[in-house]
Amino acid sequence: MDALLSNRKALFGGAIMVTFLLMALVGPCFVQDPKGFVGLPLQPPSLDHWLGTTGQGQDVLAQTVAGARSSLSIGLIVGFSVVAIGALVGTTAGYFGGWVDDVLSTVINVFLIMPGLPLMVVLAAYLPPGPGSIALVLILTGWSWSARVVRSQALSLRRKDFVAAAQVAGERPLRIIAVEILPNMTSLLVSAFIGATNYAIAAQVGLEFLGLGEVSAVTWGTNLYWATNDAALLTGSWWTFVPTGLAVALVSFSLVLINTALDELGNPRLRSERAFVQALGLRAISPDEPTPVVRRPS
């Protein structure tokens, strides 16, 4: 944790994420009613409406803040479910191997290779619109990626001594998976969760932008849906789509930053390389550079 706090990327990414989580939790209490008709439509930012108004005369700031709640909560729920399913399928495939792995791997790869959006659209079009449907669709189309990463990790853990020891000791497979294998891939699961949350937020925004969400709800996706429907580009009202887009991008960027930072912390080579560059005052490391000569008394 100390290391995490001393990493600039982690700190920056974490700060953005915490800000948005706070905004999602308590933000709606401080802004106007996001659905209410509070002013003339398509007004540019002013003192009354810091980020202007939408084509329906709603407050953009209020909509952006209110959108965070639903978008983030669905993102986190989907991210968690995707990793849970991925862990279940991935460890089963990786641990048991043989035909179980063959079958599951094929299923994983089929889902992985299918383009997500058209499948989501078909699914979402048949389901009643709403956050539940969106979440379900995102989980169905998103689990395969984490299953794939978990599987390859499980495959390599299976060959480790401590797993063999547990097998010899007569532990049941389920217990070995739960006690020996899963705890040993915590960092992988965390990074898969962050990646899946990122995916879920982006995909949700995309689906809702298409009009497949509940268009009367206030989410980041529907904000953008209404912005295009109300001809934001034609009327030059950039304030109706810029704030929401920036919010989505900031959240996604912060998640990527956190994941990169975790990656760096778990990679000692990367850290020692940094120490090397700093100690020698180098600008870059390249295979082409001859071993440096720094005269130094012992």
Binding site: T106, N109, V110, L112, I113, M114, P115, G116, L117, P118, L119, V121, V122, L123, A125, Y126, L127, P128, A202, V205, G206, F209, L210, G211, L212, L224, A227, T228, A232, L233, L234, G236, W238, F241, V242, G245, V248, A249, L250, S252, F253, V256, E273, V277, L282, R283, A284, I285, S286, P287, D288
Partner: protein, 325 residues
Amino acid sequence: MKYVLRRLLFYVIAAWASVTLAFFIPRMMPGDPTSTMFARFKGKLDPAALDDLRAAFGFTDGTLLEQYGVYLGNVLRGELGISIEYYPATVSSVIGNALVWTLVLAGVAVVISFTLGTLGGVLAAWRRGGWLDSTLPPLFVLLGAFPYFWLAMALLFVLGFQLELFPLGHAYDDRIAPEASWAFFSSVVGHAVLPAATIVLATMGAWMLDMRNTMIAVMGEDYIKLAVAKGLSPRRVMLRYAARNALLPNVTSFGMALGFVVSGSILTEIVFSYPGQGYLLLQAVQSQDYPLMQGLFLTITLAVLGANLLVDVAYAWLDPRTRQG
């Protein structure tokens, strides 16, 4: 060869799985979406035509298995039913017209993005921590954080609406007849620049980071050290030894990511009213044109599978170990 055959088998399975999925989705859904679907046809179609359509979708009176058989046969013959929105055109013909545009736009954009991104990754990794490595990856990660279609909106707003540098939408100027003329060709290119640029900007970073990371892994190999010890030119070590090897895993992830990229480019098409698959998909969603939606799902999925097969062939050709194995 064995490798390509094995992959081919996988694609057959994947294609079968998607076709089957498209069959079962309407039948597994809560409520009765199929009757809603056919209800929308009523008034547009005479009862005989409606029965034909039911049959085309396999909604016959037979058992589920019989229905499935009819449906598979139809799909194999390329009969995807009739579009509601474009009635009485068949789904296949509607999709066929739009497919060219998507293939050209997404194809060109993806190739440009992969090439530039890979090259950027090679250069960044070669001088790790250098100025290229410390500026480009963060910049593209930030760009990649925006939804594709939002980037498209921003580009269109600034360069199209405000600065009027680019056309505002469509694949070519309506006043020009679509024929093999220079005017038509340049119009097509002019209209494709912004949508393609959006896809390139949004996806380049991912290729670059991927390539950078595999490059760094490859650069730890003994053969790189030996190539340097041989006194070869840095360019040769970088390209022929490091990049040539790092490209292999990157080609695989290229195939894996294609579906994702296509999804993004579909949303981009919508913003630019580009008459491709994405634009059709929006139409289908807005008019609840289920046959068109399913047809699009199948077409796009099969196109991605086909592209992946090409990628696999390229991989087999690039890697001598699979070329002969």
